[in-house]
């Protein structure tokens, strides 16, 4: 697949359809993949990667890239296409200036899960018929593929590309995922248990802002957390819980716009399950206002941005938590 993608990208660059390509390139280590922009065939040949570690969602980079002169080619996995649609709906990208090639989605591998098996000194990771061969400086180790996949891939919501100009590989379907299982578990806790759960998770936060910076819904020109006029920027917290409010504010901020791409939890260096906050909102919106998937299209009105006369009064009809 990687080879075919490079070939197609080179063609589109050569015939002038696009001026740039957005994809992934290798970092320090084989599993250390980052999004990258390529402008020449040479760069593509040298650096372009598409493998079991290319989990990063590149849609957010299109906010900037699509406003530059000339078209940009974007290779998007199914979950990335939802983000792009949402950005198109919010006029954050210039969709006409993007050439989207849909490429197959995961499951992608999570290096942390491999390392958690006690494997160190990793030099390369190969997937042979869903057995992972981990080459290390001490020799080669093996483990089953599905034991090391990303959490976000384990509860994948869709293998369908909701927007593309061209498709490589086969098209999939929207899946009946188990993504709300953990949310339900949290809902069934007592409020004290739930509070303790979130305190123990959120107190790990080091405010590196990685979740915000990677989030495709967080594209404000001037983030409230960076704006001295907003009143919540650089305010010395009275206690550590106030700092945790950052995540709750952010979850409210992306409510109804989050496509559940899972990038926030993927990039969190402290492994906080941030996606659960967003999923709770998605689940509530689904149950209160009918099924809604942000990014599934570019025209529908988001339930939180629309008023209909039969809208429920959430506080009245919705039983919050179970005590």
């Amino acid at each position: 697949m990687q080879k075919a993608m490079i070939e197609r990208a080179k063609q589109l660059l050569a015939d002038g359809t696009v001026k740039r390509v957005i994809g992934w390139k290798r970092g320090e280590f084989a599993y250390d993949i980052t999004p990258a922009v390529f402008e020449t065939a040479d760069e593509l040949d040298r650096d372009f990667v598409f493998d079991d570690f290319t989990a990063a969602n590149v849609s957010k980079y299109l906010v900037k890239e699509s406003r530059k002169e000339g078209k940009v080619l974007a290779f998007l996995k199914p979950c990335d296409t939802y983000s792009l649609n949402q950005l198109t709906k919010e006029h954050r990208v210039d969709r006409d200036n993007i050439y989207v090639i849909g490429v197959p989605g995961g499951p992608k591998l999570d290096i942390e899960k491999i390392k958690a098996k006690g494997i160190t000194g990793i030099t390369n990771v190969r997937n042979e018929n869903y057995t992972i061969k981990v080459e290390t400086i001490y020799g080669t180790e093996e483990l089953p593929f599905y034991e090391a996949i990303m959490d976000k891939c384990a509860s994948c919501k869709s293998k369908k590309h909701v927007t593309y100009d061209e498709l490589m590989g086969e098209e999939g379907d929207v899946l009946d995922s188990n993504r709300f299982d953990m949310v339900e578990k949290l809902e069934n806790m007592t409020s004290q248990e739930r509070y303790d759960f979130w305190r123990s998770e959120l107190s790990k936060c080091i405010r590196c802002n990685a979740c915000r910076n990677v989030c495709p819904a967080c594209t404000c020109e001037n983030c409230v957390f960076d704006n001295p006029k907003s009143g919540i920027d650089n305010k010395a917290p009275a206690d550590s819980f106030e700092e945790n409010m950052f995540h709750i504010i952010r979850a409210f901020h992306v409510a109804g716009r989050c496509t559940d791409c899972g990038e926030c939890s993927r990039v969190c260096p402290q492994h906080i399950p941030l996606h659960l906050l967003n999923r709770k909102f998605i689940k509530d919106i689904n149950s209160l206002y009918g099924e809604y998937q942000a990014g599934a299209d570019t025209t529908s009105k988001a339930p939180l941005n629309e008023y209909t006369t039969d809208d429920c009064e959430a506080s009245i009809v919705h039983e919050r938590g179970v005590e």
Binding site: K89, E90, H91, R92, T219, C220, E221, N222, V224, N227, K229, S230, G231, H253, R257, K301, A302, L304, N305, E306, Y307, T309
Partner: protein
């Protein structure tokens, strides 16, 4: 540095009885920026206002806080006072320590503490107030009246009389409403049609009045002085401009088995019909549920007999859009459905009728040509029982909690008319109370009892049972004699409660007006603003606001017209300067605000921005039209980036208030 004045009102004992006003003034005097803090007996009085004005001048105040009643009461008073003393009126903040504090608390200590907190929040807010200047917006000199009953007709006539154009939108094929169905009117017993039809004709002939019959309001946009309303003209399959109302089609129509709603289903009409002889407009309407041509394509008789070619089977619903300065709601009432009242056998026995059905049975244009006959066998009834309060003054879920107000009087009227015309008929009226306040009303009721010997019995009917011989057994209790009664009746008449028309609820949503729990429109003030809704430019006429008889309805209809005329007379109205604006540097151009704006005040523009590196960048940003914005604040909540803000209620001001309360 801000120089803020705080003025604490006693409101007689309204506030001072539960709030230690001196302590409040003292406490607020220590707030940052406060240079003077005073209390006074009645701050809204002339001398109270002078106190404020003098303090503004003497202490060179930059903002004032009035701790008093709700801003709905006196905000305007103090804004004007401030303006008179040279302070921008929008530098005035009201802390509501009456409705939200003294009236709802009993304990002086807690009420005083809360009053201080409310005052402190207002001081925190006024620190961030900016002077604002109100603009003006033009008034469209045309009114819309929704509903063409006696209320709507009277309102329209009065507005037209003042020289303004009025449109009446009526959902039925003719105007006239419930009054057209009534036989005689109390307390004078004159014929309803005789006094109503001249008004209907007057409305149709008035050059300022346009009647949209068989039409509905489907969409309302805009605001006071400038509403845009979409009206659906339902297809009547007859060209209104050609039809002469000759009635030949209704005679020749072969489909004659359609229940006649004008006669409450007591007789039949044809599929193409004119509701009644004096209908306005006198135009035929084809009922698509029964017309054989429309249902199966086989017939076409009406089109053949129509000499002017008015029949149009292909007619579609049409939509028209019109601008209005004022809207008057006159949607009226309906009797409740009696399906749930099995004890009165309404669904089992045709001789158990509602009062409105009795009106038709007694009317000359009714099913029996004015002779009162039993619907079942067309015989003369000799014993008639009236049951009052069927569904009125109920505490169960079947009925209504309120008094329907008109039933006592119309029942006295019915009883009297029957005794007058058929002296051999015995009439019984079962009542809880007889309520007859009103000019000449009690005299009227006493005439029924004393002169016409109607049997008024205090007590409720327990059960009505149709018997095999055609008679009806009425089982009731006489509370004064303390005995059970069985009356062998020929007819039973139920005074069904009245409720607001079912179309009122969706209309209230369109108009953003409030309703009470019974779906009656809520007036802006129950005593002092009875014909205005709380939404500017929307007025209330007739029974849509509460149960009313005809004299009251007409009085209120004229009052609503006077209010509408008062608005239409103005060339422009002062706008609210508390409108939204967007910080273009923060705006993402995401369109969230545009989607939630109920007034269509937000558009998007592509604007060029200078970047720090001397380049320029074109960005899509929101732009608010201040003349259209009504300051509801929906956009400020929807805006994900915090770019939208509301003048006078900025995010910073609200956060400052919250901080002050939580301090």
């Amino acid at each position: 540095m801000q120089r803020i004045g705080v003025f604490v009102c006693h409101c007689g004992t309204n506030i001072a009885a539960t709030v230690d006003v001196k302590a409040v003034a003292e406490a607020l005097g220590h707030e940052p920026g406060v240079v003077i803090s005073q209390d006074y007996q009645y701050m809204c009085s002339e001398s109270g206002q002078n106190l404020v004005k003098n303090a503004i001048k003497e202490h060179k105040l930059t903002g004032i806080v009035i701790c008093s009643c709700s801003p709905r009461m006196h905000e305007n008073t103090f804004r004007k006072a401030a303006a008179a003393a040279g302070l921008n009126p929008y530098l005035v903040e009201i802390a509501n320590i009456r409705e939200q504090c003294s009236w709802i608390h009993k304990d002086i200590a807690t009420a005083t503490e809360k009053a201080v907190i409310l005052g402190r929040a207002a001081v925190a807010k006024v620190h961030l107030n900016a002077p604002l200047t109100a603009g003006e917006s033009p008034v469209v000199k045309r009114a819309l009246v929704i509903g063409g009953g006696i209320a709507g007709i009277q309102t329209a006539l009065d507005i037209a009389e003042a020289g303004f154009d009025v449109d009446i939108v009526e959902k039925k094929p003719t105007i006239g409403g419930k009054m057209a169905q009534i036989d005689k009117t109390f307390p004078t017993l004159d014929c309803a049609a005789c006094i109503l039809t001249p008004k209907m004709v007057e409305a149709s002939q008035n050059e300022h009045i346009t009647i949209h019959s068989f039409s509905e309001v489907t969409e309302v946009k805009g605001f006071v002085g400038n509403f845009t309303v979409k009206i659906k003209k339902k297809a009547r399959f007859v060209d209104e401009t050609k039809c002469t109302g000759c009635g030949l089609c209704t005679e020749k129509c072969p489909m004659k088995k359609v229940p006649n709603e004008f006669n409450m289903g007591l007789d039949n009409r044809s599929a193409v019909y004119i509701p009644f002889a004096q209908a306005v407009p006198k135009v035929a309407t084809i009922d698509p549920n029964y017309c054989m041509m429309l249902k199966s394509g086989k017939c076409g008789v009406c089109s053949k007999v129509c000499s002017v070619g008015a029949i149009d089977y292909k007619q579609q619903d049409r939509f028209i859009e019109q601008q209005y300065g004022a809207i008057v709601v006159a949607t009226g009432f309906d009797p409740i459905k009696l399906d749930q009242y099995d004890e009165f056998a309404y669904n089992q026995c045709p001789d158990v009728v509602t009062s409105l059905e009795l009106e038709r049975l007694m009317n000359a244009a009714g099913p029996n040509g004015g002779t009162l006959l039993r619907p079942s066998d067309k015989s003369h009834p000799h014993t008639i029982v009236f049951v009052q309060c069927v569904g009125s003054r109920c505490d169960d879920s079947k009925g209504k909690p309120y008094c329907s107000k008109i039933c006592c009087m119309y029942t006295a009227k019915h009883a009297m008319l029957i005794r007058e015309k058929y002296p051999d008929t015995e009439v019984y009226v079962f009542y809880i109370d007889v309520r007859t306040p009103g000019k000449n009303f009690d005299e009227f009721y006493r005439r029924a009892v004393e002169q016409y010997n109607v049997h008024y019995i205090k007590g409720m009917v327990g059960k009505v049972t149709p018997k095999s011989d055609g008679k009806i057994d009425v089982q009731a209790s006489d509370l004064l004699a303390n005995e059970q009664l069985h009356i062998n009746a020929d007819m039973v008449v139920l005074a069904a409660a009245i409720e607001p028309d079912k179309t009122a609820r969706p209309l209230a949503t369109m108009l953003t007006t409030q309703m009470d729990t019974n779906d009656f429109f809520t007036e802006a003030h129950p005593k002092l603003r009875p014909v205005e809704s709380a939404t500017a430019g929307i007025f209330l006429s007739g029974a849509c606001q509460g149960p009313k008889d005809i004299p009251e309805t007409v009085a209120q209809a004229s009052a609503a017209a006077a209010k509408a005329i008062g608005l239409l007379c103005k060339n422009s109205i002062t706008c609210n300067p508390c409108v939204a604006h967007s910080d273009e540097l923060m705006c993402n151009g995401c369109s969230s605000c545009e989607k939630v704006c109920p007034y269509g005040a937000i558009t998007y523009i592509d604007k060029e921005f200078r970047m720090p590196d001397r380049t320029t960048k074109v960005r899509r940003v929101a732009s608010v039209n201040p003349a259209v914005c009504q300051g509801c604040g929906a956009c400020t909540v929807a805006c994900p980036s915090g770019a939208m803000d509301l003048n006078g209620f900025s995010n910073r001001q609200i956060m400052a208030e919250v901080d002050a309360i939580c301090k």
